[in-house]
Amino acid sequence: MMHMQDQAILVKGLQKSFKQLHVLNGVDFEVKRGSIFALLGSNGAGKTTIVRILTTLLKQDGGTAAVNGFDVVAEPDHVRQSISLTGQSVAVDEILTGRENLIMIGRLRHLKNSRQIADELLHRFGLADAADRRVSTYSGGMRRRLDIAMSLIGTPQLIFLDEPTTGLDPEARLEVWKTIKELANSGTTVLLTTQYLEEAEQLADRIAILHEGKIIANGTLEELKKLFPPAKVEYVEKQPTLEEIFLAIIGKKAVK
């Protein structure tokens, strides 16, 4: 089917409640293969719930979700084979070294050349010098980079990044943005959740805004800009100004 081929994610009428709380009230969206798709929403909007359903960690109450053509409920093993999750909390092993973390994931993905893949990723993510240090000595940005590097092992077609820059300082955020852009350039589909407007603006091909369990807007940045009153756009522009000042002072340039 043509449809299956271009859709990395197809979500229809997704529903999820936790006891009395309706977190998702019929969520629909599609993600094209090879694109960066951002789910934008405030805390508690349901972004993580969507990611957890799509990565087979949680079962929905209603609706359907297909990832790389596989239904998340009927064929979870096929879904897991074709994705990687970089969750909200950094999922690296603090007591192991960076290299050991990467090799461990390679072994769990049953790859023959885990050691070589680990070496390549350490270089690519600028962690070669810290490779044999315990992760507990890494900075926040380094941990997140290692976390993302671990998700690339086994070259999954689709990567979920759940708030990848929350809790990072602006410098580290820029490092992570650069990594994500490179990822997309190599053809991997990325679903990104974020509460930072600028992050979606910088990275995403399409942005969906999740509010009270529903997608209330979905389009390219240009399309969304037309939808919103100018006042809101001005507010968005104020934030990077402060960030630019900060970065100028410490001598770094924002990613363009």
């Binding site: 990565t55 087979t56 960690l57 949680l58 079962k59 093993d77 897991r80 084979q81 994705i83 990687s84 999750l85 969750g87 909200q88 909390s89 950094v90 999922a91 690296v92 092993d93 603090e94 007591i95 192991l96 050991e100 461990m104 994931i105 072994r107 769990l108 993905r109 049953h110 315990r134 671990m150």
Partner: protein
């Protein structure tokens, strides 16, 4: 599906390798686990021992089995702790979104518990030898002792798994082990039950620790074991199976 099941043992192997590295890099956990029982052993042998009438020549011989059980009871609290940390840190979430055997991360922790408790039991036996412990047991009896201790460790480890999975704080994850550490004191581990008041004595004679202690004691003394060993084994099996079933239920609920 097939591929996932075929990799169960290799996945568990990777998990075991991971947590053995944790133990090797934080030897303090094993030291903490062994020091308290060794302190008890010194205290009871050299301070209280003179006043305790057990009807045997060597008090070290009499009390070693109980000390070993105390060591295991406190050792398994680290299993709960490690499990809790994995749940908190998002490491489990990463594992569960990967195409690996569902229960591999859990079995990794259970095997680690067996290995680390075996290490601390060996250390304590060595200290006991220095303190004058002697055994007349043949290889078969030693094997039986090892088997009982392994079963006891497994039974308590599955209780620790329940605690580690359902705790909401680090302290909570470890607190369940306190009553377990206390149980040997109200048994025949340190003093013969005949000296206790009737109610306490009835409890002491019918709780699991007494039968386990007496079975191990008879085996180490090279004496014929009576019914105790079957009662001991029955206790271990029943606790293990019930705790295992509960733990698996909690695990399935927590890990979708």
């Amino acid at each position: 599906m097939e591929t996932v099941n075929n990799h169960f043992f290799s996945d568990v192997g990777v998990m075991l390798g991971r947590s053995m590295r944790h133990i090797a890099r934080s030897m303090d956990t094993i030291i903490t686990v062994t020091i308290m029982p060794i302190a008890f052993m010194l205290l009871f042998v050299y301070v209280f021992g003179g006043a305790i009438q057990t009807g045997t020549d060597s008090y070290v011989n009499y009390l070693l089995p109980g000390i070993l059980l105390i060591a295991i009871s406190s050792g398994i609290s680290y299993t709960a702790y490690r499990l809790f940390m994995d749940m908190q840190s998002g490491v489990f979430e990463r594992f569960h979104s990967m195409p690996i055997a569902r229960s591999a991360p859990l079995w990794g922790h259970v095997l680690t518990s067996l290995v680390s408790n075996a290490i601390s039991v060996l250390v304590i036996i060595l200290v006991a030898l220095i303190m004058g412990f002697r055994s007349w047991a043949g290889p078969g009896s030693w094997l039986a002792v090892a088997g009982i201790l392994a079963l006891f460790t497994l039974a308590l480890t599955w209780i620790a798994v329940i605690a580690g999975l359902s705790a909401t704080s680090v302290d909570g994850a470890g607190a369940f082990s306190y009553p377990l550490i206390f149980l040997p004191f109200i048994s025949s581990a340190f003093v013969p039950t005949e000296s206790m008041p009737p109610v306490v004595r009835a409890f002491a004679e019918n709780q699991p620790v007494t039968s386990i202690v007496e079975a191990i004691r008879s085996l180490l003394e090279g004496q014929p074991v009576g019914n105790e060993i079957w009662v001991a084994l029955a206790w271990c099996f029943v606790i293990m199976i019930i705790a295992y079933l509960f733990a698996m239920r909690v695990y399935k609920r927590k890990a979708a």
